[in-house]
């Protein structure tokens, strides 16, 4: 498999593969961050996470249509507006879902899996009825297309850079929120001792609700970013769930660093294997390795406590 490449070319291969791996890493981080926030805080896995992402994607689609119809000169910046709207839309839906559904089921995490799966089916059908069964295309602004040539052989796609910047930005934002804001303080307090937190006057119900909403909002932004690299259709959310769950579970509960480390390792492993094996076998092997490691170290990479 190394035959036919010169040294320079091999170097370029590794550089570009590394970059492809970084893009994949950013994608995983975006997908998993929202879920990790929720899972770390409440031990809840939201099976409808993909559908919250797709809501963000549909909002982006609508925004792009509105801009191209009424404000074509501003089309270049519509994407930023779309991301903010996606965050708000998915966040609001998250708040509603938490209030209506999740908060009744905190004592029964397994039942939450089933209930949120039911929610995902309902959302999928809603999207199908509102937007049609066909996939919708989102037009990318011109400045996001094409690639930057770094050297003769190495070219990096601009939207890949955008996704990476976005992932970094959101991770930083979440970090700041978690460790520098009062909300973050409350979240960490509840994580350590819920009863005590209640006793000192923290409104645990509202903090939980806000956490769920923010987690879903981040998912919406991720979905918005994915309109650049994937399709937007009613069932598109299903493509992401297994990967997202594994990244979160592999990273360990309650640890942002764990999520990031896990996303990094899984994405690099998959992208390296993809280069040398076929796509299917790379996927299967990556999944098997992740599951294998989880069996050996069930608490994930960076867990704060052992999970049952």
């Amino acid at each position: 498999m190394f035959s036919g490449y010169s040294m320079g070319e091999l170097g370029a291969i590794f550089a570009m593969q590394g970059f492809a791996g970084l893009i994949l890493f950013s994608v995983f981080v975006l997908m998993a961050l929202g879920l990790a926030i929720i899972f770390g805080q409440m031990g809840v896995i939201n099976m409808a996470h993909g559908e919250f992402m797709i809501l963000g994607a549909y909002v982006t689609y609508l925004t792009s249509n509105v801009f191209s119809a009424y404000m074509p000169e501003l089309f270049g910046i519509y994407f930023f507006v779309a991301m903010i709207l996606a965050f708000i839309a998915s966040g609001l839906l998250g708040l509603l879902v938490e209030w209506g559904l999740i908060r009744h089921l905190y004592a029964r995490p397994l039942d939450t899996l089933l209930a949120t799966w039911g929610l995902s089916l309902i959302l999928q059908q809603t999207y199908r009825s509102v937007f049609g069964a066909r996939e919708v295309g989102v037009t990318i602004p011109n400045w996001m297309m094409g690639s930057l040539p770094l050297t003769d052989l190495i070219e990096v796609p601009i939207n890949g850079i955008f996704v990476m910047v976005l992932a970094t930005g959101i991770s930083l934002a979440v970090y700041i929120l978690m460790f520098r804001s009062s909300w973050g303080l409350q979240v960490r307090a509840i994580g350590q001792n819920r009863t005590m937190a209640d006793a000192v006057g923290i409104n645990t119900a509202w903090t939980d609700r806000l956490t769920f909403g923010i987690g879903c909002g981040v998912a919406g932004v991720a979905g918005s970013a994915f309109t650049m690299i994937g399709s937007t259709g009613p069932t598109a959310g299903q493509l992401y769930i297994v990967d997202t769950f594994l990244v979160v579970v592999f990273g360990g509960a309650g640890s942002l660093l764990g999520t990031i480390a896990s996303a990094f390792s899984i994405s690099q492993a998959q992208s390296i294997m993809e280069f040398f094996l076929s796509g299917s076998m790379a996927k299967v092997l990556t999944l098997l390795v992740v599951v294998g490691i989880l069996m050996i170290r069930p608490q994930g990479l960076f867990s704060l406590k052992l999970r049952k």
Binding site: V27, S147, N159, G279
Partner: protein
């Protein structure tokens, strides 16, 4: 109108009677056969207990209305219903109007088999227009063979099948692949090919045929890479990097479903613009329907091998497209499979009329050799092996989602589902 058969005028009250009788006789001789149901008594045209009455005949439509395949199969359902309504307007078949029972396969192969059995055993339909994926066809095939049903299957597929109970109105692999490869080799001087596909039987079999053709029949040509990705996969940066390094003349892409959107977007974003034709992107899996999801601007410049494009300029197609838009709305697009589905009811009608019966055995006997000159793709003929003679065409994708037809085989390509030298 003067007519040699009308007897010379007779005077008196008999004249009117003679004229009336003569007109009636003339009219009945010139009227299309279809209108005379009484000449085709049910007992004679239906000896196997099918759902045929003196005024109606029932067929089945079996496609996915829900699930992941709904996006693709909607067009086929629309085309079949259009064909049926047009046939009914012209008087039906053997004087009978066509009624249809539509069942939903729900993108689930066991459901397809179940509904097929229901249509054949419970509803006793005279024929079925249905299926899209090979998996659904494979699932229903034993049912059709066991209960002696007749299926019109519209999708282009991998070949390697020839059932007495199916008429394949879509291309089989050699019809789609070989002429297109010859064209790109001759016209564009392409020598190196990178084969890419989704990981299941159709892309794999098609690429096998493509590889054999490139290596054995095209001068000095080679395959520089072959990759497969799972259905639903959305990250193609690795293979795009490999393609960049190998610098092939042609990317031969058989990517299917949701992966399509991801692939073309990422290709363009990585700086490989199909419009620049270096490399040139050639596909057999993207019709006008798929472009809707991908976005015309992302795939502009890609070449596709099909037998039908919505932009074909012939009278049949112009009539077809406007009738389709009238029935289903102005913003529809019509892909290759949709057109093939449209052919199904017409071919069945022709076979039934030739056989003079709805019995499946007789329809089967009558089918080979049936021609259709009103097909939107121009002309087709049913082959002995139940596939269709048709032309191969190459189109260049445009930003508005339509194809600009750049090449068409001079002759009809013979279908060959078990090609020698390609296995």
């Amino acid at each position: 109108m003067s007519d040699p058969k009308t007897p010379k005028p007779v005077s008196g009250p008999n004249r009117r009677a003679v004229l009336a009788g003569g007109t009636a006789l003339t009219a009945s001789l010139f009227m299309p056969k279809e209108l005379r149901a009484q000449d085709f008594p049910t007992a004679e045209v239906n000896t196997t207990g099918l759902a045929v009455t003196d005024d109606t005949v029932t067929v089945g439509i079996l496609h996915s209305v829900t699930g992941t395949m709904a996006i693709s199969e909607t067009g086929s359902v629309q085309a079949e219903k259009l064909a049926i309504s047009q046939i009914n307007e012209q008087g039906g078949i053997l004087g009978r109007k066509i009624e249809f029972i539509q069942e939903d396969g729900a993108s689930d192969w066991p459901t397809f088999a179940e509904k097929a059995r229901k249509l054949l055993v419970n509803d006793k339909v005279a024929s079925v227009m249905g299926c899209w994926t090979s998996a659904s066809r494979k699932a229903v095939l034993p049912v059709f063979e066991q209960h002696n049903g007749f299926l019109y299957y519209p999708t282009f597929y991998e070949g390697l099948e020839q059932s007495p109970n199916v008429i394949y109105t879509g291309q089989e692999a050699t019809q789609q692949i070989i002429a297109g490869l010859d064209w790109v080799s001759e016209t564009k001087g392409a020598k190196s090919f990178y084969l890419l596909g989704s990981d299941y039987i159709w892309p794999r079999t098609s690429n096998k045929i493509a590889r054999k053709h490139i290596e054995n029949f095209l001068e000095g040509s080679e395959v520089v890479g072959e990759e497969y990705y799972p259905l639903g996969h959305t990250q193609f940066n690795s293979v795009i990097n490999k393609i960049r390094l190998r610098k092939p003349d042609v990317i031969y892409a058989i990517v299917v479903g949701g992966s399509n959107v991801a692939f073309y977007k990422q290709l363009k974003a990585a700086g490989i613009d199909p419009a620049g034709e270096s490399p040139l992107v050639l596909t057999i899996s993207v019709t006008e329907d798929e472009i809707r999801g991908i976005g015309g601007e992302n795939i502009e410049g890609t070449y596709a091998c099909m037998k039908y494009f919505q932009s074909l300029e012939n009278e049949n197609n112009q009539a077809f497209v406007s009738a389709f838009k009238e029935m289903w709305g102005d913003d529809i697009v019509i892909g290759d499979v949709t057109q093939a589905a449209y052919l199904g009811p017409w071919l069945w009608k022709a076979a039934v009329e030739k056989a003079g019966s709805f019995d499946v055995d007789k329809v089967r006997e009558a089918s080979p050799g049936i021609e259709m000159t009103t097909a939107p793709e121009g002309y087709v003929k049913i082959h002995e092996n139940h596939h269709l003679w048709s032309k191969t065409r190459v189109g260049r994708a445009q930003a508005d989602g339509q194809y600009d037809v750049v090449f068409e085989t001079a002759e009809l390509v013979e279908p060959d589902p078990f090609p020698e030298g390609y296995q």
